[in-house]
């Protein structure tokens, strides 16, 4: 499958030419973006009747800041050489990234309805060969950071100023290859690498910390040589500040954002549901969830 540009070409969005709004205005704009990402994800969940909606809702604020504030990209050209790269290691978060890519204009809005269907460019686990803006084939967990290390080395060869962002989950910390990536990123002084670990404390067999104890995470990351921040990943102000700091940090170190998030965030009745890697949503509940999301937006 080949990449197809969106029907509508939009101007280049870069850090340099982005209008410098006040922090308050920027925050309001990002809150709207996070709302739209959550809404897109719920609509896709409704199409498929299932999906990793708990994760999509928890990571929406991080993706809103990534695509709405931190990253440079061209909506009409997913392979624009000067773009920042975003590598989704946890392929089952594809529903969240599609929601963000649709909002960013990289995937047309109307494609949302094809999510998880036969011959769709939006398969349930993210694959680079299917989807514009999907930079790696994730899903075999623990690979993203290793690929990101190579991407960063490759960008440095080209004297590129682009950043590589990679998102992975707390469950992936169980994979040895993640620690190979952590160690090598510091060894190679990859100051063009920004990794985000989503700590929602849920993985397939239960709470991540019980499946395999991973704390103290900040101490571990710092000991591995990373510039490390730990934030509430559903506090937009904190997420904005963390991305800003990760980008502007001048040390010769890779940058880690540990984002503590809440599964189902933005839809109170899903957030309150018994915590599970795969939140069950009944057929009639998708509309209720959209209504609840809207209520939160207008509150």
């Amino acid at each position: 499958m080949t990449y197809q540009p969106c029907s509508k070409l939009e101007p280049v969005v870069t850090k340099e030419n982005r209008v410098d709004t006040s922090l308050k205005e920027a925050r309001a704009e990002l809150a709207e973006r996070a709302y739209r990402i959550r809404r897109n994800a719920l609509l896709m969940g409704e199409v498929q009747g299932q999906g990793y909606i708990g994760q999509a809702l928890d990571i929406a604020d991080v993706l809103a800041v990534a695509y709405g504030r931190a990253m440079s990209f061209k909506p009409g050209d997913a392979e624009w050489e000067e773009r920042d790269r975003f590598l989704l290691s946890n392929g089952h978060y594809a529903i969240a990234l599609y929601a963000a890519l649709i909002d960013a204009g990289i995937i047309p809005q109307e494609e949302l309805e094809t999510y998880g269907s036969d011959d769709s460019r939006l398969p349930m686990s993210g694959m680079a060969s299917y989807t514009p803006g999907m930079e790696m084939s994730g899903g075999s967990l623990g690979q993203g950071l290793t690929i990101a290390v190579g991407r960063c080395l490759g960008l440095k060869r080209k004297a590129s100023k682009s950043f590589v962002y990679t998102l992975f989950s707390d469950g992936e910390l169980d994979e040895g290859a993640v620690w190979e990536g952590l160690m090598s990123a510091a060894h190679w002084k990859l100051d063009n690498l920004i990794a985000i670990v989503d700590v929602n404390n849920q993985q397939a067999d239960g709470p991540s910390g019980q499946v395999m104890a991973f704390e103290p995470l900040v101490d571990k990351m710092e000991a591995f040589g990373w510039f490390t921040q730990r934030i509430d990943g559903n506090d937009l102000d904190a997420v904005m500040a963390a991305f800003d700091a990760a980008r502007s940090y001048t040390g010769a170190k890779p940058r880690m954002i540990i984002a503590d998030t809440r599964m189902g965030c933005g839809v109170p009745f899903l957030e309150a549901r018994e915590k599970n890697h795969f939140i069950r949503v009944d057929e009639h509940e998708w509309q209720l969830a959209l209504t609840a999301l809207d209520a939160g937006r207008n509150a």
Partner: protein, 332 residues
């Protein structure tokens, strides 16, 4: 009279730095030198290894092009993932480690990060098949089976220094991932006597013969050529078809030679009897309805012994002398 005189036991260190037998013509580090030559013409070429540069001849490239060499530490999964990342950014990584570590330890990373995206990564692996006496930890008896089963990747088993030298620029011309077995150190030089030219995807008839057709790859072609000379003393006429590219298989040439009839077909491989060249050829013969008598010389489906390579090659039937006797037995 002392009746306890025994053959002195060989040491495991025999053949450890080179597969060459005593007195054989060799060439030093053909892979490393060929890569340096290629890199001079192709600025996108980079070298990567997982703490085995010295033992895969990549140190020659590292010395010549230090700014294009990436030491990834003893971490094969990282090695493959990072190679995929570099390839995505336009580099052409030549990645080295031992065959066991690439194929058994980092298989999923080659599968998902490299092959699934068709990335331009060239994976060159030393100690293929039974070319070390260190035991199963280092003996890659099943590497070809594993790599043949992976979609979208070209698989090569070169015979000698000449072939390695020609293979390096040839795989660079090919757009896509490649797995190639590697011989390191003092590598035997054989094929120059047969006016050989490596072509990706092509099997080559090195000598013709009426009585038996030996189809082989890698170091077993070197052995097959020696066996053919031995058999000639007994007026047995052996043909040798060298199949350097294991995947995609040159089915047309194999079927043409095996289909000539009147000859025993023997596949000789430095690999487990399961999933390698032997089974690949047998499948094609069956599909084409060619019913020539068929035999396989291969490593057993077993965890192989540690010890000296000459001893082990005799024990498992892939030395020139044992192969010669085996063939004489079959040809009765």
């Amino acid at each position: 009279m002392n009746t306890n005189v025994q053959k002195p036991k060989l040491k495991t260190s025999a053949m450890i730095a080179s597969i060459a037998s005593e007195g054989q013509r060799t060439q030093l580090a053909p892979f490393g030198h060929a890569l340096v030559e290629l890199a001079a013409r192709r600025p996108e070429v980079v070298g990567m290894t997982a703490d085995l540069a010295k033992y895969t001849d990549l140190h020659i490239f590292a010395q010549a092009c230090p700014e294009r060499f990436y030491q990834m530490g003893m971490a094969e999964q990282l090695l493959m993932g990072a190679a995929a990342g570099l390839a995505h950014e336009g580099a052409m990584p030549f990645v080295t480690t031992y065959a066991v570590f690439a194929t058994r330890r980092a298989y999923d990373f080659m599968h998902q990060a490299i092959a699934e995206e068709g990335l331009n990564v060239k994976i060159a692996c030393a100690l293929p098949g039974l070319t070390t006496g260190y035991g199963p930890s280092h003996q890659a008896a099943e590497d070809l089976a594993l790599m043949r089963a992976m979609p979208g990747i070209t698989v090569i088993d070169p015979c000698d220094a000449l072939e390695i030298e020609q293979m390096v620029p040839a795989v660079a011309e090919h757009d896509g991932p490649v797995y190639m077995r590697l011989l390191r150190g003092q590598v035997p030089l054989v094929l120059d006597e047969y006016d050989y030219k490596f072509e990706l995807g092509k099997a080559k008839l090195l000598r013709d013969g009426r009585d038996v057709l030996i189809i082989s790859s890698g170091i077993m072609t070197m052995r097959a050529l020696e066996v053919a000379l031995e058999l000639a003393r007994d007026k047995i006429d052996a043909a040798v078809l060298h199949v350097a590219t294991i995947k995609p298989l040159d089915t047309a040439t194999i079927l043409r030679e095996a289909g000539r009839g009147g000859r025993l077909v023997v596949v000789a491989e430095n690999h487990s009897a399961i999933g390698g060249l032997g089974e690949a050829v047998a499948t094609e013969l069956l599909r084409a309805g060619i019913s020539s008598p068929f035999r396989q010389i291969a490593l057993p489906d077993a965890f192989l012994d540690a010890g000296a390579l000459p001893t082990l090659h005799d024990r498992y039937g892939i030395s020139t002398s044992v192969m010669t006797e085996t063939l004489k037995g079959w040809l009765g």
